[in-house]
Symmetry: none
Subunit: 200 residues, 4 copies
DNA sequence: GTCTAAGCGAGACGGTACGTCCAGTCTTCCG
DNA sequence: CGGAAGACTGGACGTACCGTCTCGCTTAGAC
């Protein structure tokens, strides 16, 4: 997400990668102890031992900074491996998601980021980008499932994403219901009932 | 949510109901044209021709004000009538939800409110409260379905809520995918496959 | 110079005179220990235990704040009393001026204020205002001198002001030559030679 | 004032005189359209098509840059020629001063430079240096006048400088009264009355 | 003909202060 | 005493420059 091809190799002093690191590190630290709304650019800058300018030069807004920091906090992406069955793949994906989510700052910042995204199209773009790997993973799982005959041909991966991430988000942001193994199990069961060829 | 019972009938000048109205009206107007984060108590007060004090006397925070205003914007609650079948009841519920949501300020306001709720337990309480009628409606639908033998006994209404409001929220806040008749149809189909006794 | 008729007696909380005092006091203190350019609104606010807003509400700029503070620092105006002779009056005026100037913050801030005045017409107005009592004093002295026959009729007080404040300013800002009794003596002598009827 | 002797003739690339020119030209331009305080090193650099470093390599501060630029803007120094009488010499000097002053950026820049000088001893040195030719000119005029018997022996040229540059500065910075022929005439008259042997 | 120190434009760096905006509270007067 | 007005403290915002520091390059005298 760092983007803007750094190999512009334009003239002038190049950006110091240590500063990049310091900013992201400080951002994660502040997020952890102050939460989304308690996080200010000012404090991040102070904590990173960096001028505010150096942050604004890299990120146009708090939300882009935080999104980048959260993305890097843990390597949020994990391999979508082939377990041999669609249900297995899904289970692995859901459990992996939960594990990463619960351990990272994403859990704290997601509501704030999504709120911002609702108002700013640029942020929306960032969010979509950040979600694309999930879309891709589900797509792969569904494709393999169809090949194996476990999932109905013509199944739209987007709907599967609705079924997986929808309840997850709902619990995270509204009901605060637990995101545990039982939840994952039910999720997989529902998906397989909805799009499976001969589930149970 | 209109604040505490006004019939304290204490001494002194009673609250002016015109002020209540002016505040709520101005809040909705400002929300519509500035969005959640662009809405400030200051502007609402100015627009309503009211002192900031008169707002703070009624609402402890922006989020409670907005929640009240949004709730009244359209009567967001609607009766959950009995259509004769579980699938019909669900369809009615989902379509009603969509109709109310898409026409009201809730749609603009929800992400912001949920973000606030993630950090402030008081707000979380408000949100839970605001969601309770949906929980109740789903509960009633499920109960009738079980009675009729359409829905598996022991079905947890909470899971059904996950399946209905989860994707809805996900589309609203993340993918911005359409919330239309087709979506509603799929939603109902999935729910019935997941918890129906002999769907299709 | 506080101006803006406070007796608008409009509704709303009236300005707190303690805040006025705190601001001016802090300004003088900061000026003394940091000098003109080292004085920041930020520090004045902090020192006064006052929000920056409360300063900006009263003064549109640093220079107006400082001008007001300096004016009040010592009652810079002093009575122009009648000593019986034009030379005596002038001497009293010059010595009084020196005494007040050297003891107040004016000495430190004058260059900065005048620099600002050179660029901002509003500030120029403030300066003119602040100088008007000197113009008036000289005017009175000249008038009395003409009456007594000591000063040539038709003498323009403005020129006398040139002769008095010009060298004073020049020494203060350029040569840093001493502003002492000898200087005052010479000043008076020159003025009397230039506009006196029969000096020496 | 062009900075230190360039004939160090050390190794390395010599300074590009085009850069010198570009900097000074841009400085004058920016001074004219933005005034003293609106002039920033950053803009001068941009306007000159030059790196900030190239300016800082030549001038340690804004004030030295500006002083140099202003000095070169017009050849501010002019010969103090012998007109045959002290009054004539003085008149020539004053009129020359006015002519140079009013046409150059000095007029805009002087207040700012003097304000800086009030706080920074290094700048004060620069100012004193810049004023020395005036001191010298007046000295020469006074010396010739004494020789001719027109000016009282023992007259301190410094006082004459007070009487000439004082009112000039005062009008320039405080009263904004006109600096015209009449003013010059009065100035000369006053000086001659104050230090002349038998004026009129 | 290399070497090499200095100059060059560009622009990132840590900082500081700016003036603005809101939050939520407090204080006045009017009805 | 309720309500409107608006001043209060406080703190983050995003901007603008400061003066310093790399960068990769050019220039031209010294070797």
């Amino acid at each position: 997400m760092v983007s803007e091809a750094n190999d512009a190799r334009g003239r002038g002093r190049p950006r110091d990668p240590k500063v990049d690191e310091a900013i992201l590190g400080a951002t994660v630290a502040v997020l952890r102890e102050r939460g989304w709304s308690g996080t200010t650019i000012e404090e991040v800058a102070a904590r990173a031992g960096v001028g505010k300018t150096s942050i604004y030069r890299r990120y146009p807004s708090k939300v882009t900074l935080v999104a980048d920091a959260a993305t890097r906090d843990r390597e949020s992406v994990f391999p979508s491996f082939d377990t041999g069955s669609a249900a297995g793949d899904l289970m692995a994906f859901v459990l992996g998601s939960l594990r990463r989510l619960l351990g990272s700052v994403w859990q704290d910042v997601l509501p704030g980021v999504l709120a911002e995204a609702a108002e700013d199209p640029d942020v929306r773009e960032v969010v979509k980008e950040a979600w694309s790997w999930r879309r891709a993973s589900i797509g792969a799982i569904v494709a393999r499932g169809i090949e194996r005959g476990e999932i109905q041909p013509g199944t739209d991966p987007e709907h599967v994403l609705d079924m997986v991430d929808g309840p997850l988000l709902f619990r995270l942001m509204v009901t605060k219901a637990p995101l545990d193994y039982g939840f994952a199990d039910q999720l997989v069961d529902r998906v397989m009932r909805a799009v499976g060829s001969h589930w149970r």
